[in-house]
Structures are given as structure tokens and as C-alpha cells.
Amino acid sequence: PFLRGARAPLLPRHRVQTRASRGSSDVCVLHRPCHSFVSQTPEVVPQPRRESLSTWAFPLTSEGNETVYALSSAPGRAGISVIRVSGPSASRVFSDMTRPTGIPKERRATLRSLYAPGTEEELDKAILLWFPGPNSFTGEDMVELHVHGSIAVVNSVLESLAGLGFGMAAPGEFSQRAFHNGKMDISSIEGLADLINSETQLQRRQALWQMAGGAEKKYERWVQDLTKLLATVEALIDFGDDEQIEMEVLKDVIPRLAIVKREIDSHLHDNKRGEMIRSGVMVAIVGPPNVGKSSLINLLARRPASIVSPIKGTTRDVVEVRMDIGGYPIVIADTAGLNQEASDEIELEGMERAKERFKDAAVRIVVFDIGTVENSNHVIADFQQLFSEDSSNGETIVVFNKVDLHNGDEAKLAQYESLKQELVQNVKAIKTVHFMSCAQGEGVSEFLGVLEKSVQTLLLGSSRPSGECGTLITRARHRKHLEDTSLALQQAEDHISSLEIASEFLKQSIDCIGRITGRVDIEDV
């Protein structure tokens, strides 16, 4: 996780790309808050680059760090590694480090020998690409060096670049330069960060859409609509008396305002699907102690993520696993068993955390031991006692574990069916009841199907089977600004009889949307 501060990176550090590239396994275990998985883009607008700015400060004599470089691919041994250089002196790579010298044709791969500047020391044979500004990623002159992916080669090339007086790029600096040079808006940069961090197909699709400016277009249209409305209101204020156009025009303003507000509100009412796609659907496994919750998570993770023992209360804290289920990202949490006789302080704290998770989760898996279940009333009582909180938001799946105890017992199987019926009928929150055995693997694939279905419904909405994710809000930051927009529009509506006050709120609403894409005025900087 990256600390926020003056050097908050716009993009994850290059090191993060490493982590993403390592993601061949679909599971990795994180014992930390799951949100830190994806590096957080700093709230708001990029901070001015303080360090490099000092060289731009008056007097502007030092060329210094105006040109920067960085290893853009993962460090360590690889087939090839990519090093990027950006800035006004980037072309010095060709004049000072290659044989033959001279700037190659733009955007064409060129094979050259690389030399340490001013020496006869050959470093590597590399493919070089020349992207003269402004038609480059950052908008500045850029050189891309595709060198052999050896630690020695990469280090010697990086040293040579430093020897040319180039500065090491700060994390996210290339994107920052792209932003400053008007190549990308903030929401597109966020999309790029999401793409680099994407682990599931859905995340990839959503990130690509955002990176291509999809979100920006939508927000821009609202800004346009609202600006037109504002112009009408202003005309009424400044010329209404003159031109006697008053009331008929105002009649038109109110519904137009309502339309934009409705659009924004319905955009907001997406059950946070976009954010869930980005950071994963929160799934919590809860239930009484020793019913097999940890076995279930280990089974899903296909590895012993959580310690399993016959001792009650083995799991004390929340254990999280990120995984991909049917292409959908989830963060699944194993929690401490809810023991009504608990008195141990640690156990009580663990239970608090379990309940917290239960409340926040989008999908809840409530596990019971079929062996200890006497009848449905008993389960219903337990359920209601344990989860007195309103749990109707989100999906709840009840799992009865350890069905292997009753293998072959026909009578028991009939009982299962009636238990299921009674639970679904009596507890509103319960939609699905599933019987399985974590130990024997019985019913596991069916369970995965059930879980996948729930997650899919959450992410895509039940009405849309194929994933059109392009219209979703992907970040809390966007949501916050849109909520502010909606609030300001509400205020504008409320004050429509005092046009000059309504106009203030309209302006405010436009500012709020503007903050999402970073088209902000200096006040916000």
C-alpha cells in the first residue's frame, strides 16, 4: 500500500506491475485490508511535482531532471526488459549511447548496439523505439529501450542513463506527465492504473473502457447539459425583465434539470457494481464455531489459508483470500466462530469483527454443521440470534456442512429438503440453501456454481446476462463527486423560485462533475 502524501503516485509503482505480472496463480493470500491490494490513486488532482519543479523554478538554467527514465517492465530475469525515457533530452540516448548514432525513424523498431556513454563498453544489443513529442504517451520526446532481461544489462543501462544527467522517474511520473501535457484526463489515468492491476476479465474490460475515456464522455455530456441549463437561467436573470421571456422558459428549465438529476441518480444506484468489479466482491463466511468455515475457505483457495483444527475458536481474526471465480473478482473472508458462550476477550473481539464483516459483505455464507442441527426452528432461532442486524441487503447463502456424516441415509436426505423449504420460507434474507461436505468434497462444485451465480448477479445485475460494465462507477471518489452533484441539483430544484440562488447550485453541480475528470480550475489545485 502506498502512503498518501506529497509524492503520492498517480500510477502504482513499477514494483506493483511486478506483482500483477506474477499473478499466474489466481489466488494470493493477503492478511491485510483487501483495499490495499490495488494501489489507491490519490484523491483528486495530481500534486505538483515538487522535486522536479525546483529545477523549473526560476531561473531555468538547469536542464536537470527534465528528462527522466525508468524500468517499465518487471525487474528481475526475463526474456526482455523495457526501459522508458521521457523528456526534452530523450534523444540523447541515440547520440550518446548507440552505434550507429543518429535518431532513427519515428515509431519504427531499430536494432542497435548500446554503449555506456563515452566508453567502448558495449552493454547489449537492443531494440529501440523513438516517439517524438507530442505524439507520445507523455506528450514529450520518448525513447523505449527493449533490452535483454538480465539484471546486469538492465542495471548497466539504467546507470548509463543516470550518467547522461537524466533523473529516475518518480512512481507514476510518466502518467503525471501525460496528464500535465493534456494527453490523458484523471479518469483515464485511473483506468490505466486499474488495467495494470486487473486480474479478472471483467476488471480488464471495465478498466479499458475507462482508460479509453468512456467515463469521461459520460461526465462531459452531463456538464454540457448543465451548462446549457445554467445559460438559460442566467439569460432569465440578466435579460428576463428586458425581453419579457420569464415564465415560459422557466417551465422548460425545471423538467430539464430533473432529467439530468434522474440520470445521475440512476447512475449512482448501480449497487456499487463498478467499485465491486474493481476491488472485488466482499464475501464473508460466518457461523457458529467448529462448523467448517475455515475448511470451506481452504477448499475454495485450494490451499491452507486458514488453520483448521477440531478446537473451537481456532480462527480468531479475519482471514482474507482474493480470488477469481468464473472471471469475477472476489475477496473472501473467513471469520471467528460465533460462540454464544464465549468469554475470552480475544474470542469476543474476533466475533465483533466477524459480525462487522457479515454486515459489510455483499455475499454472506452462513455455515452450519448438519450434525448439530436438530430442526429448522433451531437454525432459524440461531440465525436470528446471531444476525439480529438487518441482513436483507446482499445475498445470503446458508451452507450445511459435514453431510458425509449422513451418507446413504435416505430419511436424512428427505429431512434436508424440508429443512431447506422451511428456512427459505421463514427467513426473508435466505435465498439459497446448500448441503455439502468440505472434507469429502461432496457438493463443492455445485456450491461454486451457487457462489458464482450470486457474484455474477451482483456484478452484472440480474437483467443483463452478458457483462456490459461500461456504465458503472468504479471508484468511491467518483461516487462522492456524483453524490455531491446530485445534492447540488436537488438544492437548485428547491431554490428554483430564487433563480440567483438556484444558479449558484447549478454552478456547484458542474464543478463537482468537473472534479472527476480533473478539468478543474486553479482554486482546486
Binding site: 488532482v45 505538483p48 501535457n181 425583465d241 440562488i501
Partner: protein, 619 residues
Amino acid sequence: MTNFYFCVFSNSNLKGVMSCNPSFGGVGKGHLVKEIDALDGLMGITADKAGIHFRILNETKGPAVQGLRCQADRQIYKREMKRSLDRIENLDILAGSVEDLVIKDGKVTGIIMENGEIIRANCVVLTTGTFLSGVIHLGNERTAAGRIGDKAATGLSKTLNDAGFALARLKTGTPPRLSSKTIDYSELTIQYPDNPPVPFSELHTPSDLIAEQLTCWLTRTTERTTEIVRDNLEKLPVFDSGEDGEGQGPRYCPSLEVKVKRYPERTHHIWLEPEGLDDDTVYPNGISMSLPREVQTEVIKSIKGLENAKITQFGYAVEYDYVDPRQLQPTLETKNIPGLFFAGQINGTTGYEEAGAQGIIAGINAGSKSINGNNESYPKFILDRGDGYIGVLIDDLLTRGANEPYRMFTSRAEFRLSLRQDNADLRLTKKGYDFGIVDQFRYDTFLRKQEKISETSEKLKSKVLSAKEWESMIPNFIVRNSKSQNPKISAYEMLGRSDIDWPLLGLVDPELVNEVPTPVKLFLRSEALYKDQINTHKTKITNARKDEHLSLPENIDYDKLPFLSREETEKLKKFKPQTLGQVVRLEGITPASLVLLHAMCRTHKKTLAKEEMYSEIEM
């Protein structure tokens, strides 16, 4: 050392002559008059003395966007203005036409009169109006003049051009004047003046105004009018400016011809406004035109009530030179010629109020510079966008320039709810007094008002009743949306509701209302009504000022800034902004570049502070 202030008019009788509509104020423009008055300018005082029809525009809307306006008697206005000017010490009034400027070593050193006489001066304020290479158009007739009967100034244009100023042309117009005796008012809508009238000046009460106020009348163009204009469009003058020689006129005060072209399906209203108490002339507001005389006669005949109206002077258009105002400093001194100031239409504005607003700023600063021995670091009087409409006007001109005659509106002011007519004096009078341009009498009047405001506001805040009590005392009134059942509400909070005003408070407790002067009532009502927004504005203004006044390093080499695009570099080099605020309002500077320039300014400020510190240590 004695200072002489010269006021040169192209004709000695012309002080206070109004070329166009004899009216002052309006929506947005009323704010300017109030601000000029708050700085002890003469416009509001004189308009009050000459006003024959006072009316608040936008009266149904909130107080921040209402516009004080009055029709003035031409003769009285001119007489009163002359009287006030004659009373000013150290002011010599010189009649004659200015032919040229004397510029030596890049500085202005005087003016050359028509008769060849040279008058030496450290500072010159040029207010050329429509006279700078002015050409009057009437049909296809072209006459070199700035106003009917007055010669244009042509030599100046060349001098200004040679001195490096970018000149362009704008157009404005005036309608034909009518003889009131020949108008049939019987079928027209009457427009009564406000009773009591509200004066512009803080020094006046309604009793200082002319008691006999006149009425105006409202009529409309007809379909026949539209037809006549449409059939004669080819007889329109061909102008130097605008698309296809249409003339670059004021967009928001278009000529009749433009209205017909733009809205062929509509008819347009016309205000018939008297030009004076003992004057038969009527100004038909809304139909300025430059069609040939015979067509104008036809047009007038086609209008209801004007069928037999006699035209006393035909309408015409005038086209004149103006200078790109982006070449000015916030003091209205030009950037390239020290000592030379511009104000009014020469900067691309339209209207008396806009001209007066610039005039007072240019005058104050030219005076200050002159008194301070022409030293470049003279005390400057600068208003910004948070100070008032004058600040908005000047800043708009300096940063955006003017492609068409610039007219003030309330929507140009982003802090509209804070910059009101009712607090112009609270915003500016002390500032003016501290600078030395507001006299003691006005300042004392102002202090008394301030005292009355805090006294009344205290009274209102300490009068607290429950919601039920308020409801029982005010007929048909319900406190809605309250969180608690029966909340306590002060009279001040009540005043901030859009459905409560002073008279209703008077019903509850006459003590609160009695003996509160109208200006105090207006001010407190607005403050209470816009309380929330005013607070937001305060923060925004503070923040904006912090950045706004961050000065850019001098002699900055924009070519060396890697983050600027070529267009940005060109723009910045051309207009040499001095503060970050000015960069913000230059069109076409990306937010990205702003962020970086902002950081540069901050570093620069720190460097300056350090240098200052070091120099102090060394001393």
C-alpha cells in the same frame, strides 16, 4: 509642486453629454453606478439629481440581481455635471480637440491640441469614446464623426498603432428620436416609475430626487415593421467590422436590423422614454438602426402609436477604433507606454456605466502616479473580482479581451450574491477612504450606516420566538422543514426566508422595523437571505486571492518551459500576464500548465521572501 489635472473635451460644451439613451443603471450596470458612487465618483449623484423616471429592473427576482435604473433629463444632467466639475479644485477644464500624443523614450510626455499647442503631462488618460477614427453610417452615407455634429479624432489611431497597440473596429448605434406631441399614447401600455424612487447615491434619500417623475410607454414592432426592414436589408451600410460587413455591434443590445435577421418570426418591444422634463424628445428604446432616412420613416409609421410620429433626428450607426484591452494593467495603465491610461469605449466596452467604472480607476491611478513623481512603484488602486463588478469588468477586459462591445451583466460576476448594490459602499468606501479618494463627508455617512447596521442586526438576532409564535403572528405563514417540533427562530433568521420581508417582521414587532433606514433594510435582508452562499464565497475569495495575486516571475522565459504547448507559449508571450489569476482567465491555457505555473509562482514567492530576508540581514 503643483499638480494640474487637465480634462480635455473635444468641445467645451460636451461635459456630461450623453450620445445615446439618457439613462443610467440596469441589471448589472446598476451595480457599477453604485460602486462608482461608493468610491465618491460623480455618476450616481448626478443621475439622482437629473433622474425623471426611476425604476428597479428585475424586481420580482432576488435582491442580488435587481438593477437600479433611471431615465435622466439630458439638460439637467449636463448642467449638474458641469457644476460639480467646476467646483473641483486644481482642475482646469480645457476645450479643444486632442490631435495627438507626445511620446518620448517610450513614455508619454504630453498631448498635442488641434491648434498645435502642446500640453505637457506625466500621465494621460485617453477616453476616446466613439471618436477614435469614428465613422457615422446612415444608409450608404459615411461621415467621419464620433457623434452627429462632432468631429472624429483620426491622428491618434496612427500614433497608437505606431506605439504598438493592436487596433480593431466596433460598431454601435442609436435609434431615431421622436417628437412626443406627435405620438398617440392612447393604446399603449403605461409604465409608471417606482414610488418612492430609490436613489443611486448613498448620500441621497428619495427626498433629494426630482419630485415630478415621468411615465414611460411600451409599444411593439409589428409584422409590417419586420417586412419593411427585411425588404430593405440591402440598403444597410457596409461596415468595416463584423461578418460580411454587418458590423461588430453589441450582442445584447442589437440593432433592429439584427433583431429582424436573427428572429424574423418575432416582434420586439419598444420603450418610449422621455429625454427630459421640458423636452419634447422621445427615445424609442430597442430600435437603433442605420437604414436610410426614408426607410426609417416607414419603419416608425408601422409601429402602434407612432403612425403619425415625427422623427426629430434619424438613427445612425457609428463605427470606431478600439484597442485590445489585454495590453493594459489592472490600473488601466498601458503595458507598453508608461503614463498612458485608457478608459471606456477605447477598451472595447459599451455603455456609460462601464466607461465610468474604468474612468474612475484610470483617474485614481493616473493621479496617484502623477502625485508620486511618476515613480513606477506608485500606490496603485486595484479592484479584483472579489471586490466588485468594477474588478470583474477590468479583469475580463485584461484577460479575455473584447471581440464585441462588452456590456456588464450580473452573470459575469462569479460572486454575484456577495457583490450587491446594497453593499457596494461596505465593499469599497473604506478602501477608497484609506487610499485618499473618498471625502470625509461620505466616509462619515458610511460609518453612521455601518453603526446602524450592527445595531439593527443585534436587535434582530436577539429577538427570538418559537416557530408557533411566529406562525400565530404572521398571517398565512407556516415554518416548514424544521427538524424539531417547535424550534426557536430569531428575527434575523426569519428575514433570511424568501417568504418573509421587513413589512411582515413589522407586523410582529414594529420596534424591529421602525426607524431603520431603507439602505440598512436592503443590506440586512440580502445578508440574511444569502447567508450560506456568502460564507462559501468568503472562503473562495480568500483562496482565489491567495493564488490570484501570486505574481509570476518577471522576465520569465516561456520558451524554456517544457510543459507549455506552442500556442500557450505564444499567448503568454503576447499578453505577459502578471499574476496567476490572469493566466487562469487567458483562454486556451490547459489546467495542466496552470498547475505547473502555479507551483512556479509559489517557488518564486518563496525565493522573493528569502531574498528579502537576506537583504535585511545584510543591512
